[in-house]
Amino acid sequence: MWSYAFRRLLQSAMIVLIIVVSVFIVMRLSAGDPARLRAPVFARPDVIEQYRRDFGLDRSLFEQLGSFLGGLLRGDFGTSFRFQAPVTDLIMEALPRTLLLAGCSLAISLSVAVVLGSLAAMRPRSIWSWLSGALAAFGQSAPVFWTGAVMVIVFAVILGWLPPGGYNGASSLVLPAIAISLSILPTQLRVLRAAMESTLQEEYIATARAFGINQWRITFVYALKNAILPLLTVVGVDVGYLLGGVIVAEVVFAFPGIGELALTALKSRDYPLIQGITIVTASAFVVVNLLIDMIYFWVDPRIRQEHS
């Protein structure tokens, strides 16, 4: 297993490197001049030139790439054009908040998907089944910016129960986490419900029933262990969305996370910051998916056997 993990890790590092170099090149080929964007509107040309020199943009693409990769080897992501601060500091400021938000959103959507999806599969003609269908349809059709805006108006502006945005303690996580979880819930719910329905048809579930095992234990232990495996794959995809994305939710809720930072970086063509964020999110995505594979490994003895 460890050699497998190591091989995968190496593979992942290569993928991240390729992504980062591509971003490096694409950024520099695309429209928008960081020096102009950093300088005040209508700045004198010599001020803009000075910025260009400060940013090292007067050097050849090859030189820039070389010093960027050299910096990477030393763990130095460079200095943000926009903020004039180390990229590492900026990311370390925003990333924990996004991780917290993403974690909460994932926890909420997973709990709801597991509980509601299981109940719906267990009792196909119950209120749970109806609720799960309705929730999935709602999450699918209502975009985050809409649900987010509605929730802010209702719970923050009208009722005043929760802050409308920003990041100021746990209460400011509630609305964005719910809005985001609503957007990732439909797929999770459908996948889990379908997996649970087919698992409940399995002979080993009949066995468990035939031995008088409590139906809750059958559903939430015996069947869930099997039905949750496809959900893990979905979570792997969701994590990518949560880390790279959430931009919409972060904007709607003025949540100072990595998405908002990325947006600012993009707007100002802050190459080092964009590169840094790309590295971090791509790595996080790759690592989480690696972890999920490891979880598969750990949960499912069949996969363990295949690889041993």
Partner: protein, 334 residues
Amino acid sequence: MSDSPKPVLEVENLSVRFPSQRGEVAVVDGLSFQLRAGESLVIAGESGSGKSMACRTLLGITPDSSRVDADRLDWKGQGLLALDRAGWNALRGAEIAMIFQDPAAALNPLITVETLISDAIRQHRGGTRAEVRARTIEALSRAGFPEPEFRMKAFPGELSGGLRQRVAIALALSCEPSLIIADEATTNLDVSIQAQIVELLRFLQADLGLALIFVTHDLGLAREIGGDLMVMYAGQAVEYGRVPEVLEDPCHPYTRGLLRSAPTMASDRNTPLQPIPGTAPRPGEAAGGAPFRARCPVAMERLCERENPGWTRVSDTHRVACHRFAAEGRGGVQ
């Protein structure tokens, strides 16, 4: 037999019906039998004959869409059809336990052998952690599972087919039931292991005084198990008797066909195997006449089409449901 104790299991006119496009169809139709403690009943028939479904009614685990009816379906005098969920759960595993056909499918791949068995024990017998563990080990060793202390942490996928079936048997034994239903329990095993498992079941039956329902499509195995034999076709019982009686004096054309098509009959070793022509009817297809009529070499044209034959007595313990036999005796079905 009349002086034997009251049967533990009494089944009268049991049927299981499913809704279909052509209305309700019966998968099990008018089945009646009894079983006394320590006795065994072999139910034989091709796949699809309703054997497994009939057994599942005894555990209340027929599919949700099915409808189970019976004039009587009593376990130790208690009507099973009136049981609620809790009643069933108290019975399942503890009074009646089942060994499923395919242990690869019947054992949850993600639950260890230990968890599987101790869960059942905890459900029915309770006890401390250590007690449950001890009972688990005991059940496994009874079932001939080697080195249970060390190997019970294994997942079913890590075991051979034979060991998996022993796990299934250990599971069935774990809560000391009075009746074990072995549903094609040896079908997927190779012959030498099949023999071991049958041997084990017979031993346990004798040792623990269990009643046993042994479901098989292989009449050869019936001889090994002994007791009563019920031959089923298309959801109905077509012949019923003591195992030797039926095997040596098969009175139903289907029983005879089965015997000719089976490779394990010692008496027929020199004759070539003769499969029964045609295919088993789909549920509901055979309704309204003799169920076997479409494939029967001696079917009586008008009668078998129109009328379901009732039982004809062969001996005190042997009966057959066949118009031809009723009309012409053994000669008619030769």
